[in-house]
């Protein structure tokens, strides 16, 4: 039951919306007040999620060819924090990494690493992946710089 209550920011957001609805209507029927706005807000959020997903990163600037030193750093982090669930080839706990930098927006990849709980709740692609793999991508306390290095490692892998 522990990781069912992780999405704190989401819960807070929903409470806020529910709360403001109640203030305006002063409804005595709490249950009804709780349900309708949150359902609406979820649908609304999904529809408006940008290409980079939900998280701190909006854009990733890259050099060509990929920066090998940075990729090497990324490889080490990937080995310790990601490889228990992702292999380059073939489905494992999560999807294969081969081709991921071609399939996905680079900022989206970083946000998936940095903010997995919110991504699988709000981003339509991440939601679908969760439904397919049935395992919540775990938060691994990766910094933004480290996530950037992982992306470089994945880019290098995709150019080879």
């Amino acid at each position: 039951m522990k990781n069912l209550i992780k999405g704190k920011s989401l819960i807070v957001a929903l409470m806020f919306i529910a709360g403001s609805f109640m203030i305006s209507s002063c409804s005595s029927d709490d249950q009804q007040a709780d349900k309708s706005p949150s359902a609406k807000s979820e649908a609304g959020e999904s529809a408006s999620v940008p290409e980079y997903g939900v998280g701190p990163v909006k854009e990733v600037s890259v050099s060509n060819p990929p920066d090998e030193a940075l990729a090497e750093k990324g490889e080490a982090i990937f080995a310790s924090k990601c490889s228990a669930c992702h292999k380059m080839e073939g489905r494992y706990v999560g999807p294969a990494m081969d081709g991921v930098t071609e399939r996905r927006n680079l900022a989206w990849i970083m946000n998936m690493i940095l903010n997995p709980e919110e991504m699988t709740k709000k981003d339509p692609i991440a939601k679908k992946l969760l439904a397919e793999y049935m395992t919540q991508m775990v938060y691994q306390d990766v910094t933004e710089d480290e996530a950037r290095a992982i992306v470089e490692y994945l880019r290098l892998n995709d150019t080879n």
Binding site: C26, S80, A84, V93, T135, V138, Y139
Partner: protein, 640 residues
């Protein structure tokens, strides 16, 4: 929500008001952390106040099968003593570390009463990180009491024993015991930064029973006060024979002066074997060191460090008010609370206002030191704390009540019944320079009809009382675990922001850590098989292991690769004769398994971690001794 003016139903007995005061809405946090000792369960339990919600159980002196404390290879050493590995103790008094007379939220010190020990709990992790055995002690009840800046934590003996000058406790005829026995008061230096403890010296004191202590503050901060009962020096039928005198003592010890004598070299060093066990911050592995000597001083050779103040009768609590002037003593068998004055005590010392001398220790005149007697306070006064607004609150064991009285004129202001037989009470910061006089917790010894019956044994009951107004108001009953002897509470916002969420993988220096799945492996060294395993939602790596034989000792070194808050994994093996282990994110823990049966043996994660938790499992194959089955292991395809 806020704009809707919902009318309170309001009931005539005021319970609605009480409910509102203790109600902490779902998702909200309590205002205080309260740490209640577990007494005979050897643990500390943490509650939220005012809700009374149980937040955590911290195992200290007792093995805790729930998370493997005391069973895991890493934590076993914390229970080492000169008597061997002791899996239990009787934990009585929690005391928070202090800076400038105020609880600073860094550490919680607790005592083990039975096999004398002091432990330190780190409040960033709520884990026991150090235990120190106390030599020359028996019944380590009078501890662990800190001085104002945690310069020292002191520990005193409840049982006096024949402490030998050659070290150890002597074997002598019990009929002659009181000719030989002595008490000891240990001064444990606490390192400013790390909090680490070191037994610096002991004062050998007359053979009484030392019960409770408390450090002075403000003008009295160089002193620490102890209750000493059994001034009769009885050794049998103490129930009667230790209650003959009309007065026992408060022992006042000038710890600064004692420490100076030690610095000047006025000590003897005697042999004393004791264990010092520490959890290493980087490896998370506890190790033991055996110390061989202790410095002792005596009041005879070091004058002016100790005075005795006569005090009625079998005193228990000795509590110094926030100003540092009043020393309030609760004599279990008296029907009043004597309040000694620190400034009077200094005058009596200066004027040599002695009525007698006990083994070179001056006994001051009761009337000269006394400020007042709070008369007709109730039956069986046990302990007193303060609200910082000029009032004192004393618990009455026999008459089952809390009595509020005023320090200004020693007038009794209010009383409230508690259910039943209250021992200690606690006000957040009520033993410090600046109490937070909002709540009081009464820790009751007898529960009887307060809760639904649960057979002959009932949980002890605590009661939360509102002390913010003139009249005390009962707010809440809540069951506690074990037997809380004493408690401490601290504002949550001092502790909560520093609470650790994970252990960082890149700081894990455990000698058997596996920091990435690619490094998982199984190694044999003679009869020792080491499994370097990782855990992450939702698999253990490796999850298929062959080549274990009867006669092997297997160590599962499990590293939790998660780096997210509140995602421990558990690990258990069928037939393991110890416990499971719970591994926190980023941590490595080790379970020993000595297989006793051949066959395919399952292991699995015990902490529901994800939708695929039930799949987080594996097999170990155990073959007969000498069978030709090599070590082989894998996760996924059997490649290796």
């Amino acid at each position: 929500m806020t704009s809707c003016n919902v009318k309170s139903k309001g009931s005539p007995d005021g319970t609605d008001d009480a409910a509102r005061k203790v109600y902490v809405a779902p998702g909200e946090h309590d205002e205080f952390y309260a740490f209640l000792s577990g007494g005979f369960n050897g643990q500390v339990s943490v509650y939220g106040m005012p809700s009374g919600r149980h937040l955590k159980m911290i195992p200290v002196f007792s093995q805790h099968a729930e998370n493997g404390y005391g069973y895991s290879e890493e934590s076993k050493a914390l229970l080492n003593t000169t008597y061997g590995n002791i899996p239990w103790d009787d934990l009585h008094h929690p005391k928070l570390s202090r800076t400038d007379g105020m609880a600073d939220g860094r550490f919680l010190f607790v005592n083990g009463n039975n096999t004398p020990r002091i432990a330190r709990i780190d409040l960033t992790t709520f884990e026991t990180v150090e235990t120190l055995e106390i030599p020359n002690s028996a019944g380590n009840h009078c501890s662990p009491y800190p001085t104002n800046n945690t310069e020292y934590v002191v520990a005193g003996t409840r049982f006096s024993v024949p402490i030998s000058d050659e070290g150890g406790i002597e074997d002598i005829e019990l009929e002659k015991l009181n000719e030989y026995y002595r008490g000891s008061i240990s001064f444990i230096k606490v390192d400013d930064k790390s909090g680490e403890m070191d037994l610096e010296f002991q004062i050998l004191v007359p053979g009484f029973d030392y019960d409770i202590a408390n450090g002075g503050k403000g003008p009295s901060e160089d002193w620490i006060f102890f209750t000493a009962y059994n001034s009769e020096q009885a050794t049998t039928l103490k129930e009667v024979n230790a209650s003959l005198h009309d007065k026992d003592f408060v022992a006042a010890i000038n710890w600064k002066k004692a420490a100076e004598y030690v610095k000047q070299g006025k000590y003897r060093e005697i042999p004393a074997e004791y264990f010092h066990n520490k959890m290493d911050k980087k490896t998370h592995v506890a190790s033991s060191e055996v110390k061989k000597k202790v410095k002792v001083i005596s009041p005879e050779e070091c004058p002016d460090i100790m005075y005795l103040i006569p005090t009625p009768k079998s005193p228990h609590g000795v509590d110094v008010d926030p100003s540092g002037e009043f020393i309030c003593v609760s004599g279990k068998l008296a029907s009043m609370v004597p309040v000694h004055s620190f400034s009077n005590m200094l005058k009596a010392i200066e004027n040599k206002d002695h009525v007698d001398v006990f083994e070179s220790i001056p006994i001051l005149k009761y009337e000269s030191v006394l400020a007042a007697e709070v008369k007709d306070i109730g039956l069986g006064p046990l302990h007193t704390e303060f609200d910082g607004k000029g009032n004192a609150y004393s618990s009455m064991f026999v008459s089952s009540e809390i009595v509020k009285w005023r320090l200004k004129d020693f007038e009794i202001l209010d009383r409230i019944p508690v259910y039943y037989s209250v021992g200690h009470l606690m006000i957040p910061g009520g033993d410090t320079h600046k109490p937070d006089g909002k709540y009081l917790v009464a820790m009751n010894k007898i529960t009887k009809d307060r809760y639904l019956p649960t057979g002959p044994e009932l949980c002890h009951s605590a009661q939360l009382i509102d002390i913010s107004g003139d009249k005390m108001k009962m707010l809440l009953d809540f069951p506690t675990i074990g037997e809380p002897h004493y408690a401490q509470a601290i504002k949550a916002d001092i502790v909560a922001p520093k609470s650790k969420k994970i252990y960082r993988l890149d700081e894990n220096e455990h000698p058997h850590a596996t920091l990435k799945e690619a490094d998982t492996r199984v190694e044999r060294d003679g009869n020792i098989v080491r499994v370097y395993m990782t855990a992450i939602r939702s698999h253990l790596a490796p999850d298929n292991i062959e080549g274990i034989h009867l006669g092997d000792t297997v160590y599962f070194h499990v590293t939790n690769l998660e780096q997210d808050w509140d995602v421990p994994h558990g690990f258990a093996v069928k037939g393991a004769r110890n416990a499971e282990i719970l591994i926190m994110p980023g941590e490595t823990k080790t379970l020993e398994w000595i297989p006793t049966k051949t066959g395919v043996t399952p292991f699995y994660c015990t902490d529901f971690c994800s939708a695929l938790h039930q799949e987080m499992q594996g097999y170990a194959r155990v073959s007969p001794e000498g069978a030709n089955v090599p070590i082989k292991y894998w996760l996924g395809d059997p490649k290796k």
